[in-house]
Each structure stands twice: as structure tokens, then as C-alpha cells.
């Protein structure tokens, strides 16, 4: 288990580093993320600009840090949303069982049968319109959070339901019932803490999945939009110029890679500690 703990520590370190960069990006870079400097556009990494500059002469490190803020915010938000919906839905379906469960699972089937990309694209566009009047960046982030949360909750719901179904069969639940404890109390006080481990592990893996989804969406131009940036937007801009200015694509991609590696390592460790029965 030492290997796993080491990996966990490494993951935590990576994530902590990213959070630090995200929070102190402008100061760290010595430039604001939106400060334009036409005289120093498209420069390769240098001492003044550690990661170089983009077409408007903006500091790439500050841009990557800004991207980290947006990407992490979206990922955490989407995960929280998926967890909230999935947990409630799964608990209800698993606990009530029978026909209600059957009907609720059909809904899950339908959501599963919808193509993720399409649902996300549609939801983003619908939300763009519904939220008119909200500042642009808030609207984009909210749309992504809702869209990614919506495709994410079904997985959580299935997992929670399966765990609750399993727990219901356990003798201590029967015992609690026999003692005359109310359903809600059993569910929230006894069943939930008992199954919290695997759910936490699932949540830990939901975050990198959301980062991946967000960066892919932004890469194809559907996620975060300028003047704001996420890692995917930056990578997409970089792809357009990858022959001449490789630094524009390499660093955002590296940031994504490090973030995902960090969260995966952390997730693995959580799993080893919290959910020892299931290795994967």
C-alpha cells in the first residue's frame, strides 16, 4: 500500500500545484491574463514570459492559469451537480424498489441512450438562451456545469442504487427495521454512511472525466468562449498554429494532462483506502 500512498501524495501534490497556479496565476506570471502587448505577440518561452505569448501578446502562463480556474470550476461544479442528482435519485430508486425502481431505471436507460455529445451541445445552446442577461462567462460556465452534470448523474444514480439494493439485504438493516426505526432515518443515518466510500471514489473519478469533457468541448468550440479561456480553448487556438508556434498547444495540453494524472492518482488512492473490495 505504500506505492498507492506515494501515488496519492503525488496526485495531491499535482492538484495542489494547479490550484496554486490557478489562484495566483497573474501574480506568478507577472502579467494579467487579458493584458495585450502587440509588440511581444507570439513569442516563445522567455524569462519575461515563461510559457511565451499568444497572438495578442498575452502571457501564456497567465492564460493557462486563467484556464485552470475555469476548467477546475466547471469540473468541480459538474461533479457536485452529478453527485447531488445521482445520489438522491439512486437512494430513492434503490430504497423504494419494485415498480418505482423499475420506472426510475427506465428513465436512466433513456438518458443513457442519448448521445452525450449531442445532449451537451443541445443543453449548452438552450441554456445560453435561457440565461440571457447573465454575464457571458457565468452563463458559459453554468451551461457547461449543467450539461456535464446532466450526462454524469446517471452513472452515479446507477451505482448508488446498486449499493442501496445491496445494503437493504444486509442483516443490520433488517434489524433496524425490526427496531421500528423510520425509513428516512435508516437511509440517511445508516445506509448512506455505509455506502459513502464507493460513492466518494466515484466522485473522485467524475472530476477528471468532467475536465476531459470540458476541454474536449472547448477544443471543438462549444465550451468556454473568448475573451475567457479554458485549457481546451487554449489548445484549440494552439492547434491552429501548431506548425509555427508549438508552445501555444504544448503548454495547455500539458496542463490538462497533469491535472488528469493528478486526479486519477488521487482517485486510485481513495479507492484503495475507501473501497478495498473493488479495485476498479
Amino acid at each position: 500500500m505504500t506505492g498507492s500512498k506515494l501515488a496519492g501524495a503525488l496526485g495531491a501534490l499535482l492538484i495542489a500545484a494547479l490550484v496554486v497556479v490557478a489562484l495566483s496565476g497573474d501574480r506568478l506570471a507577472g502579467h494579467r491574463y487579458d493584458a495585450q502587448d502587440a509588440a511581444h505577440a507570439l513569442e516563445p518561452p522567455s524569462r519575461a514570459h515563461w510559457l511565451g505569448t499568444d497572438a495578442l501578446g498575452r502571457d501564456q502562463l497567465a492564460r493557462v492559469a486563467e484556464g485552470a480556474r475555469v476548467s477546475l470550476l466547471v469540473a468541480v461544479g459538474a461533479t457536485a451537480l452529478a453527485l447531488a442528482i445521482g445520489l438522491g435519485y439512486g437512494l430513492l430508486a434503490g430504497w423504494l424498489g419494485g415498480r418505482v425502481d423499475g420506472a426510475m431505471m427506465r428513465v436512466v436507460d433513456v438518458v443513457y441512450a442519448l448521445p452525450d455529445v449531442l445532449v451537451i451541445v443541445l443543453l449548452i445552446e438552450v441554456l445560453q438562451v435561457t440565461l440571457a442577461g447573465v454575464p457571458d462567462i457565468a452563463r458559459r460556465v453554468a451551461a457547461l456545469v449543467v450539461a456535464l452534470g446532466f450526462v454524469g448523474w446517471v452513472g452515479v444514480a446507477r451505482l448508488v442504487r446498486a449499493l442501496v439494493l445491496q445494503a437493504r439485504e444486509e442483516t443490520w438493516v433488517e434489524a433496524a427495521r425490526a427496531l421500528g426505526l423510520r425509513d428516512r432515518r435508516i437511509l440517511l443515518r445508516h445506509v448512506l454512511p455505509n455506502i459513502a466510500g464507493p460513492i466518494l471514489v466515484a466522485a473522485a473519478f467524475q472530476i477528471p472525466a468532467a475536465i476531459l469533457a470540458e476541454s474536449t468541448l472547448s477544443f471543438i468550440g462549444l465550451g468556454i468562449q473568448p475573451p475567457f479561456s479554458s485549457w481546451g480553448t487554449l489548445a484549440s487556438d494552439g492547434f491552429e498554429a501548431m506548425r509555427s508556434y508549438p508552445h501555444l498547444i504544448i503548454f495547455p495540453c500539458l496542463a490538462i494532462l497533469l491535472a488528469l494524472v493528478g486526479f486519477h492518482l488521487l482517485g486510485e488512492t481513495l479507492r484503495a483506502v475507501l473501497d478495498p473490495r473493488r479495485r476498479l
Binding site: 445552446e125 475573451p227 491552429e240 509555427s244
Partner: protein, 496 residues
């Protein structure tokens, strides 16, 4: 991976939505159709209408009737000779309401064409186009239109084979159904992937030098560029940021386009209901920054008719003068510090983003106003422009035919494409008179006056720059000359 001799491999970027020249509307389809088909006239390198399928034409003294004499000996690729009736068939099909052709309005200058398209009259005989005999096409217009010969170089006016369209239905544009009379014929169409055209042995001007054109649909310019480097493509457009790397190489080619890029104001809402405010915002834009920013050969332009178009006048329009801009704001009683943030809305795209960010910075610096940027997905943006235009928006316009009317008509009070809400009867009258004026000097005067209203006095729009195309052309190609209307004539091209 050796290039096949006498084959040209190009990148169309996306699938042409249609090869039916009555229904196609977009630049991609035009590139393919231009190789397959020809029209009554074609544009020379100086953008003047030259004889093509029409050997010559004449206009009646009242300017309302054009008579085109067709070139003898032109045959379709299935051997059927071209007849004037094929034009009549094509034009009536374009105008028939059930065809639902988007570009039917191109022929609205023809007598009764608009009414026929709207379903108000049903008799095709009433439409002002007829075949006097097999070799003579006669067109009667609603009103004189001096640039009519330029109009009939456009694909929607090309002749059509009714017999084939009736036989094959909507699939007439699929190979081998598609019969054409241009330098190339369609050999294969793998949708969303590639078009293959081969030399037309029956082309009236003689078989072209190339044997085949393979036109791929590669959306990512970066991928296309790598394929070009690998020798798998002969001709690609360069992504803006890669241009500098290629600029000095012999394979590099730049062609300025007749395509204007502008910012429009919603003149119905404050603060832009005041022309002084609009002038102030226009004066605060330093256009000289755009070429360095976008690096695509953009040419700053303060007037609306793009340079290269007849009757353009680069001296018109408001230049960069921040002092005067601030004075105008004061005069209009606008305090920049108290002004609510100005919203610029544009559709999501790298270039539009860069321009908007630059304009934001310029207005902040020179006027002291706060500016918010918002971008929209394309369709949402268009809907918004139609229903509730934002205070400031970006749009572009590419020439459909090389006459200033195509640009100036845009901002008449009755144009569907005028999103600014601006209406000036004096401007409308000038543009209408100019479209009918046969004398070039007279037209110049009328357009100058109209442009002064548009770009200096009322300023519902701020022209920013005209765009250019940037190509990487394989060394083995010769004779590739793009046109300012983004037209390509690959029959002029040969390959080693």
C-alpha cells in the same frame, strides 16, 4: 505517395451543400460548380464581364432589354448542344416558388420575376426571359440595370437541363447523372469526403491541361497544411497564424478579396441613436493594428466599397482621430465614465474574437468607455440580429458580383441585410439612381455621395478592413490565379 501526374488535389474545407447551381448559395459549392459549369459571361482579371457562353450582347436604348447571342458549338457533356431555352428553363426553375431557391432574388431585376417567385403570378410566359431562337436569349428588366452583364456570371443564372432534372429528380447532381458544359465533369462525389472532377473532352474551348481535380473536405486547416507538407495536397489555404512562416517561400500566394468586414450599431437604441456618438466610436478605432494582429493580408478600409471594386474610393470614411472622438462624445453629452458598458456581440470565431478584443482595448483606451464582449453560436447570432440586434455587432459581406450595388444596396432601408435599423431616404435614392446610371463618372459621384453619408455622416456601420486569401501552392502547379471574388478557374492551371 508520389503525386499522380496532371492531377490537382485541393482542399474545399467542407462538404458543398449542393452542386445544383440553382440551389447552392455558399462559397464552397461555388468553387466546385465553377469548374463544372459556365455562364453567359465571366469576369476577367479586371472584374469586367467578358463574353463566355454568350459571344456578345446588346442592350436596348432604354436600358431595359438585353439580348445575348450564344456562342455556337457549345455542347453539354452528354453531347446535347446548348440552346437558349436551357437558360430560360434554368431561370424559371430558379424563380419557381416550389424550387425554394434561396438565391432566386438574384433575378428579381428581371421583369415579373419577383411576383412569379412570390406566387402572385403563375404564368411563366410573363417573366421577362425568352429564347428568341436557339442561339438568342432575350431578357427584359423591370428597370435599367447597368451591371446586368456582371450579374449573369453568377452560378444561379447558369443554364439548366430540364429533361435531366425531370428524369433524375433531386439526385440529378449525383454522378453519373450530372451533365455539365464547363472544363470539367463530375466523376465521383463521396459526400463529406471528396469530389473528383475529370477533364471534359467536349469543352468548347478545348480540353483543360489537368486530367483530374480531387477536392477533399478537410475542415482543420492545420491538418490540411501538414498534408500539403507531406505532398498529399497541392493547394491549401493557410491558417492565419501560419502565414508568417510561409510568407517568404516561393509557394506562398496572397489574393486580396472583395470581402468587407464591419461593425454595425443598432441606431434605434441609446447611446447609438445619436450619430455623433457613432462617429466618435468610429474615430476611436485605429485600423492600422489589424494587419499585424490578424496577419492574413487584411487591408484597413474606412469606406465601404472595397478597394478593387469599381467606384471604390479609399479616401472616404472616418480615420483614426481620438481627439475628435472625445470631443464628439462631449458634444453629444455622453460621459464615458457614466456610460453603461457597451456590448459587442460577434459569432464564435478566432478572427472575430481577436478583432473584438482589439476594439474593446481601443475604445477603452481612447474613449474611456467600458466594453463587454459576447459571442454567440452562428445561428443564435443571426437570430438575434434579425429580432433584436445588439448595440454593436460584427458582420462581413463578400461580393456576389463585382458591382458596388452589391455592397451599397445592403444598407438601404428596405434591405433584409441591414440590421442596424438605420434608414436614410437620401441614401436609398442615391443607391437606386447609381444602379441605373450608365455613365461611370455619374456613378462615381453618386456612390461617393452615398458612401459619405454611410461612412462619415450617419455612420450606422464602421467598415474595418477587407480580407484576403493566403495560399500555399505546390511548386509543380502553374497558372493558378485566384480572383478577388474568391473564384477559381482550374482550367487555367497545369501541373508537372
Amino acid at each position: 505517395m508520389q503525386p499522380v501526374p496532371r492531377e490537382l488535389r485541393i482542399n474545399l474545407e467542407t462538404e458543398p451543400p449542393s452542386l445544383d447551381w440553382s440551389l447552392a448559395t455558399d462559397g464552397i459549392s461555388i468553387i466546385a460548380i465553377q469548374q463544372l459549369m459556365r455562364g453567359l459571361t465571366r469576369l476577367g482579371r479586371d472584374l469586367r464581364a467578358e463574353p463566355d457562353l454568350a459571344e456578345r450582347w446588346s442592350v436596348s436604348p432604354d436600358g431595359r432589354t438585353y439580348t445575348f447571342s450564344l456562342r455556337p458549338g457549345v455542347v453539354w457533356s452528354d453531347g446535347v448542344p446548348l440552346r437558349a431555352q436551357h437558360f430560360v428553363d434554368g431561370w424559371l426553375r430558379l424563380l419557381a416558388p416550389e424550387t425554394a431557391a434561396e438565391y432566386a432574388y438574384f433575378l428579381f431585376p428581371v421583369k415579373n420575376a419577383r411576383a412569379f417567385n412570390a406566387g402572385e403570378i403563375h404564368d411563366p410566359e410573363a417573366v421577362g426571359v425568352r429564347a428568341r431562337d436557339d442561339a438568342t436569349l432575350e431578357v427584359e428588366l423591370e428597370a435599367p440595370l447597368v451591371y446586368f452583364p456582371s450579374l449573369v456570371n453568377f452560378m444561379v443564372t447558369f443554364p439548366q437541363r430540364r429533361d435531366l432534372i425531370e428524369r433524375h429528380g433531386e439526385r440529378w447532381t449525383e454522378p453519373p447523372n450530372l451533365v455539365s458544359l464547363g472544363p470539367f465533369v463530375l466523376e465521383e462525389w463521396r459526400h463529406e469526403y471528396r469530389l473528383v472532377m475529370r477533364a471534359n473532352e467536349r469543352y468548347w474551348a478545348g480540353r483543360p491541361a489537368l486530367d483530374r481535380i480531387v477536392a477533399y473536405m478537410i475542415e482543420e486547416d492545420s491538418t490540411a497544411l501538414v498534408l500539403w507538407e507531406q505532398g498529399l495536397l497541392d493547394l491549401v489555404k493557410l491558417p492565419p497564424l501560419e502565414i508568417r512562416r510561409y510568407e517568404t517561400r516561393p509557394e506562398y500566394l496572397r489574393q486580396p478579396l472583395l470581402r468587407g468586414y464591419y461593425y454595425g450599431f443598432d441606431v434605434r437604441e441609446p447611446p447609438f441613436d445619436d450619430a455623433r456618438v457613432r462617429r466618435a466610436f468610429a474615430l476611436a478605432i485605429d485600423r492600422s493594428v489589424f494587419p499585424g494582429l490578424l496577419r492574413g493580408g487584411e487591408q484597413p478600409s474606412s469606406s465601404w466599397i472595397p478597394p478593387g471594386m469599381p467606384h471604390a474610393n479609399a479616401s472616404l470614411g472616418l480615420g483614426f482621430d481620438p481627439e475628435r472622438a472625445r470631443a464628439l462624445l462631449r458634444e453629444a453629452g455622453v460621459d464615458p465614465a457614466k456610460l453603461a458598458p457597451v456590448r459587442i456581440v460577434f459569432n464564435s470565431d478566432q478572427t472575430h474574437k481577436l478583432v473584438a478584443e482589439k476594439v474593446q482595448a481601443l475604445w477603452r483606451e481612447h474613449l474611456g468607455v467600458r466594453v463587454e464582449l459576447e459571442n454567440r453560436e452562428w445561428k443564435v447570432f443571426l437570430k438575434e440580429l434579425a429580432s433584436d440586434p445588439p448595440p454593436v455587432f460584427r458582420l462581413g459581406w463578400g461580393a456576389d458580383f463585382p458591382d458596388p450595388d452589391n455592397f451599397m444596396n445592403l444598407f438601404t432601408s428596405y434591405s433584409e441585410n441591414n440590421k442596424t435599423g438605420w434608414a436614410n431616404p437620401r441614401y436609398d435614392a442615391l443607391v437606386e439612381r447609381a444602379a441605373r446610371a450608365p455613365e461611370p463618372a455619374e456613378r462615381q459621384r453618386l456612390y461617393d455621395e452615398a458612401q459619405t453619408i454611410l461612412c462619415e455622416e450617419d455612420v450606422p456601420i464602421v467598415p474595418l478592413f477587407v480580407t484576403a486569401s493566403n495560399f500555399a501552392v505546390a511548386k509543380r502547379l502553374h497558372g493558378f490565379v485566384p480572383r478577388a471574388m474568391d473564384q477559381y478557374f482550374f482550367d487555367e492551371v497545369s501541373a508537372d
